[in-house]
Subunit: 114 residues, 2 copies
């Protein structure tokens, strides 16, 4: 591992978590871009609007999520709703379990008293 | 972020945490390589013996830790003991605080019920 300054290191942590978080948010139900962003934003600055759409596109191309266009009943611009595919749902669950393992290990080493 | 398979993703998480864990272990007192490894290993397979020494070398070159050679009183091979520099201690504390922020954010998003 290259030694990194703090900002790069925090950015690397966040990038590593972005896909996990996005799949988890969608595992709670279909949502469109701004809804996803609002759910994520409520817990900090993890994914910016600029990085959300490229990530959604990559996840869709990889077959992990699938989008459909819909027109809001109240009028307005079409929205693209995303939901998990079966593969995406399985991946979300596997990543969640791996995250919990990882978090437990680091917490034991870093946060507990010696 | 490039989409990665699970194994690469887990490996990326572990690499991101390796420096934090190593600095934290040394913040509890001077230790030599195999001692460090034993402290880390007790909480999982975070850092291998093959990756520990290169990481220690890089941290020493970066001025975050400092090593000294010592001969065990009971005889045997010389051991290199490492301790944090002031800069390393400050970095360890900053990384620990950033880790707790990050872990809290992801836990809220991923582990709590919707």
């Amino acid at each position: 591992m290259r030694l990194m300054d703090m900002a790069s290191w925090q950015s690397q942590l966040r990038k590593g978590a972005a896909e996990l978080v996005l799949l988890t948010v969608l595992s709670r139900g279909e949502a469109y871009g701004l809804e996803i962003l609002a759910r994520i934003r409520s817990a900090g600055e993890l994914v910016s609007e600029g990085s959300l759409y490229p990530l959604l596109n990559r996840l869709e191309k990889a077959g992990r999520i699938i989008g459909r266009w819909d027109l809001p009943a109240e009028g307005g611009n079409p929205r693209k709703y995303y939901r998990l595919t079966d593969e995406g749902a399985a991946l979300a669950e596997a990543m969640r379990a791996a995250w919990i393992d990882f978090r437990t290990t680091i917490t034991t080493l870093v946060e507990d008293q010696p």
